[in-house]
């Protein structure tokens, strides 16, 4: 019940907000987002205290679909991410409707953001494959409008590209869903509950093919190289708030799905595909880093860093050890915060200057020191500086995968070095050096209180989780142990004593 309310509240809120006008719409929207935040935290707290919140009601009997929601540990992590990021983005985009290029009002933006939030919560809480799929596909609609109505140049094209890529991925996932239904119905037990599907024997060609269909959708969502081209275009055209929601929350559905769907239903196929996917993930990571290094558009740059980091997460999942899986799940959370901070900060910067070209800036730290400071911290979290939460997760991934895949892990280290290079290059070009004439005329005010208030909580969270990761990690560890035991995968026996946490 609580979970249903949690996921429906933003959707109902979205409908209310769209009917209101002006400042009231914005305030109501923010109110709904904050209520959802409170409700989400309560639900997570209840889950930690061991209360079962799940519901399961038959929904479409002939297909074996249930209205089933539950909250496991990993779900809780992503729910937290979702409920925190939406109010932050709203605060940061408080004036998005006043921009000349926007086709809608700020209230409209809030409404779409809330709609997306509710659907994303359904995705993260779904215990039934069809419900998962429905919510997964439905998130495309609000995001499509967010890009198309609030973006800058080329938004229409970008919105379409985003939609077609996601739809292609989503519909191939549909083949997987239909196929799983057919297999389950063939065994005489048509049920699309993820748990029931996990009990099917899919260690055969059909199983591998269905796995590929499902994995494809997630590889588009958490973009692996080759399936990624929609992301930089979208990030460039969309408003930074939209990009934050997209990369921070929605793209996590990709990595989330790989764990929650693929690992549970197709454990054998995961191992069968691992050698290829691991290389793919490493290539993705290096490619993203190199592209970020040569990007001249700040928004594209940030999106390429995310491609690199998604490669990291996928690598940690497919390495199939408790440590690396814990690292990946934790990374989902703090990558969400880190990329949100970076996107929003770059957004503030770009809004002042009116250009996203990296060479249009220079010496900003003299005129806007607070902005520069915030950007630096966000950047440091992206390059996984020790002390940042991102460092902990990257370290865990590498520590976990080192024993099985030493060569891959060595190459990944190179990716971390590249991360330092692209972040610091970006900072150097834009923030340091002499103040150019253009910068001094356009960047004439430092961060406002509202802008600080939006990004500050993210940076605090990154630092807190970086210095005191233990409670969160214990919580997540439980989840990854559970997933691996369901999948029937053993950790490699350690040659050295475990350490380094």
């Amino acid at each position: 019940m609580l979970l249903t309310v949690l996921a429906l509240l933003p959707i109902v809120g979205a409908l209310v907000v769209v009917l209101l006008k002006g400042e009231i719409a914005k305030l109501v929207g923010m109110g709904v987002a904050l209520s959802t935040l409170v409700l989400g935290v309560v639900a997570v707290a209840l889950t930690i205290s061991g209360q079962a919140l799940s519901v399961s009601v038959p929904w479409i009997r002939p297909i074996g679909a249930y209205y089933a929601l539950d909250m496991t540990t990993m779900d809780a992590v992503l729910v937290l991410l979702t409920v925190i990021l939406v109010p932050v983005v709203m605060l940061a985009e408080w004036r998005v409707g006043e921009s000349v290029t926007a086709r809608g009002t700020t209230g409209g933006f809030f409404s779409l953001a809330l709609l997306m939030q509710g659907l994303a919560l359904f995705v993260f809480l779904a215990g039934d494959l069809l419900l998962f799929y429905l919510a997964f596909e439905a998130t495309l609609i609000p995001v499509y409008f967010l890009i198309g109505r609030y973006g800058g140049d080329g938004r229409s094209r970008a919105a379409m590209k985003f939609l077609l890529y996601s739809l292609a991925g989503g519909l191939v996932l549909l083949v997987g869903v239909v196929g799983l239904y057919a297999v389950a119905a063939g065994e005489g037990q048509a049920s699309l509950l993820i748990g029931d599907l996990g009990a099917l024997d899919l260690n055969n060609t059909t199983g591998h093919l269905l796995f590929l269909a499902v994995f494809f959708a997630f590889a588009v969502k958490a973009p692996l190289v080759g399936l990624h081209t929609w992301l930089p275009d979208t990030a460039q055209a969309a408003t930074p708030g939209t990009s934050t929601l997209l990369v921070g929350i929605l793209d996590k559905i990709g990595t989330f799905g790989i764990i929650k769907i693929c690992l549970v239903i197709f454990p054998e196929s995961m191992q069968w595909a691992a050698p290829v996917v691991l290389v793919w993930a490493v290539v993705s990571m290096i490619y993203g880093a190199l592209m970020a290094f040569q990007s001249t558009n700040l928004l594209r740059l940030v999106s390429y860093t995310s491609i690199s980091h998604f490669g990291f997460m996928v690598f940690g999942i497919f390495a199939l050890t408790t440590q690396s899986l814990t690292g990946s799940i934790f990374y989902m959370l703090n990558h969400g915060f880190s990329t949100a901070a970076l996107f929003l900060m770059v957004g503030f910067l770009v809004a002042r200057r009116g250009s996203a070209d990296i060479h249009a800036f220079g010496g900003v730290q003299r005129v806007a020191p607070v902005l520069a400071g915030f950007l630096l911290i966000s950047g440091l979290s992206a390059l996984s500086l020790p002390g940042m939460a991102t460092f902990v997760s990257e370290f865990l991934v590498m520590a976990g995968s080192w024993q099985r895949y030493p060569v891959h892990t060595a190459v990944i280290t190179l990716g971390m070095v590249l991360a330092a290079v692209y972040v610091l290059r970006m900072y150097k070009i834009t923030m340091t050096g002499p103040v150019t004439e253009q910068v001094s005329t356009h960047v004439n005010r430092d961060l406002s209180l509202r802008e600080k208030a939006a990004v500050f909580p993210l940076l605090v969270l990154l630092l807190v989780l970086g210095f005191v990761p233990k409670p969160a990690l214990e919580f997540i560890d439980e989840s990854s142990t559970g997933f691996l035991s369901v999948a029937g995968v053993q950790d490699p026996t350690p040659q050295l004593k475990e350490g380094g946490r």
């Binding site: 479409i60 297909i63 429905l134 439905a138 292609a168 191939v172 083949v175 239909v178």
Partner: protein, 524 residues
């Protein structure tokens, strides 16, 4: 010499035939109204009569559903079984929508979408006189009922000759109706003629196919054909030839590639209400007959026709989606959309999953559900096409729809809903329809076809989005004279039903799928 006394009186089951008789009687009375009722009263009489007859027939079908004994009736000419009732109810529902759109007079200066005097030469003094007197053709209502009668017969025929007669009964009124548009009459007449010529050709093929099957099996009922196949009769090539020729006739009515060439022209030329009715009702009848003929009569030869239909499904989806991309006229675009949907429906038909142990979604149930979702959205969309107008009539160019999201958000939002349903976006009924046909195809062993269909539905989604983009992301042209006219209650009802059904069937489709699945067993 036949001794009259030796002819036995045919046994006729009146109760199962009641829906057909009601529709037939209504149509005949409608013709009498045209002959005897004063001109000024005819509109009211005809609309009232049609609605009453349809509601009566619908109620009769529902009663029969509650207490169904599958049997062949009328001396084995018709089957009265689950699929018959399901398709009858769909056809009656779509006809109700059709009548409502036919009756719409609120959008074009208080006149219907039909020509004042269809027989007058366009632009002639005779026509001007008819327009001045504000005459209108109320014959369209009985014509619709006659066509419906043919469709209902077509959906239930167990006999090849009856099937052919039904085909003609349903087609002839449609040829006429297509040629009766008030605006752009030459285009409309061309559409009617084209439909007539190509339709006759297809009927010819169909009849030839019947002859071949008769030659093969020595009988005319589907049971005879099935028995001959089971017995392994000689001259298999006669069966194959008959099968292909029969398929040509049926696929023509469905508008599947390569028998689709009439679709865009007829959709565009015909009066919009007729297009809406024809688009969905003809398709429903053709599919009902196709499934009965292929499952019941030719089920034993499924290895021969499944690959054939699979290929036709694929080319229909491809051609509809790809050519549809380049269309700039909404009616043409919906025509190509209809071709694509014919392909998706064929995907559901190919699997040939019969109800039974462990089957929760049979082919008939899935296809019927798909038709329902497609039908309500189609009627609604054509209803909206009536309301968006410019000085010369309806504004069907995409350009005219630009910026509608700003000027008339309600119409734009409803149209968006229908298009999302066509595209099969989740939470709309169209999605569940696709899910159902894909499920049955997968169970029938056509997983690869599902994959192809899914990929092509992305391409198809692109062209629906073209209109969504135009409405929401683009501004109206400066010299645009597009106006949204508020229609009468008729159209509103159709649109409202479409919206509600699209949402409800998208969210809670379980009961409806189950119902259709329970009525999906053919009598053999």
């Amino acid at each position: 010499m036949i001794n009259v006394l030796e002819i036995q009186a045919p046994t006729v089951e009146w109760m199962p035939l009641l829906p057909l008789l009601l529709v037939f009687g209504g149509a005949v009375v409608g013709v009498l109204f045209e002959a005897f009722a004063p001109r000024s009263t005819r509109y009211v009489l005809q609309t009232g009569l049609s609605i009453l007859v349809l509601l009566g027939a619908g109620a009769a079908v529902l009663f029969q559903m509650a207490d169904l004994e599958p049997q062949t009736i009328a001396m084995g000419l018709l089957s009265h079984d689950g699929p018959t009732l399901i398709f009858w109810s769909l056809l009656i529902l779509f006809s109700l929508g059709g009548v409502a759109l036919f009756a719409e007079r609120g959008v074009g200066d208080g006149q219907s979408a039909f020509a004042s005097s269809a027989s007058a030469v366009p632009g002639s003094p005779l026509e001007r006189e008819a327009v001045r007197l504000r005459r209108e053709h109320t014959e369209v209502f009985p014509l619709l009922l006659f066509s419906l009668l043919g469709m209902m017969l077509f959906a239930s025929a167990n006999d090849l000759i009856t099937l052919f007669v039904a085909l003609e009964v349903m087609s002839l009124p449609l040829y006429l109706l297509s040629a009766m548009a008030r605006r752009r009459r030459l285009l409309s007449q061309e559409a009617g003629l084209k439909y007539f010529l190509l339709g006759s050709l297809a009927s010819g093929f169909f009849l030839y196919g019947i002859a071949m099957l008769y030659g093969y099996s020595g009988g005319l009922t589907l049971t005879d054909v099935a028995a001959a196949i089971d017995a392994g009769a000689d001259n298999y090539w006669l069966l194959l030839l008959g099968l292909v020729l029969l398929a040509v006739g049926l696929l023509f009515k469905m508008g599947a590639v390569p028998f689709h060439s009439w679709v865009p022209d007829v959709y565009m030329g015909a009066p919009t209400p007729v297009t809406g009715f024809m688009a969905i009702a003809t398709k429903t009848a053709a599919i009902a007959a196709l499934m009965r003929v292929f499952y019941v009569g030719l089920g034993g030869a499924s290895w021969d026709w499944q690959p054939l239909l699979a290929v036709i499904a694929i080319v229909s989806m491809i051609l509809g989606a790809v050519v549809g991309l380049s269309q700039n006229d909404l009616k043409r675009l919906l025509a190509y959309s209809a071709i694509t949907h014919a392909g998706f429906l064929l995907v559901g038909i190919v699997g040939a999953v019969e109800p039974g142990e462990g089957v929760t979604v049979s082919s008939v149930g899935a296809v019927a559900f798909y038709l329902l979702t497609y039908g309500v959205a189609t009627l609604g969309a054509f209803g909206l096409l009536l309301t968006v107008r410019r000085s010369g009539g309806e504004a069907n160019g995409i350009v005219a729809w630009r910026g509608l999201g700003k000027t008339n958000p309600v119409v734009a939002a409803v149209m968006t809903l229908f298009f999302l349903s066509f595209a099969g976006i989740p939470l709309t009924a169209g999605f569940v329809g696709k899910l159902a046909v894909f499920s049955s195809a997968f169970q029938g062993g056509f997983g690869w076809l599902v994959l192809v269909a899914v990929i092509l539905s992305v391409v198809a989604a692109f062209f629906y989005l073209k209109i969504v983009v135009a409405m929401w992301f683009q501004d109206a042209e400066d010299d645009s004279d597009t106006v949204v006219v508020t229609p009468s209650l008729w159209t509103w009802t159709v649109v409202l039903v479409g919206v509600l059904a699209t949402i409800v069937l998208g969210l809670l489709p379980g009961g409806m799928i189950e119902l259709m699945n329970n009525f999906s067993e053919f009598i053999r």
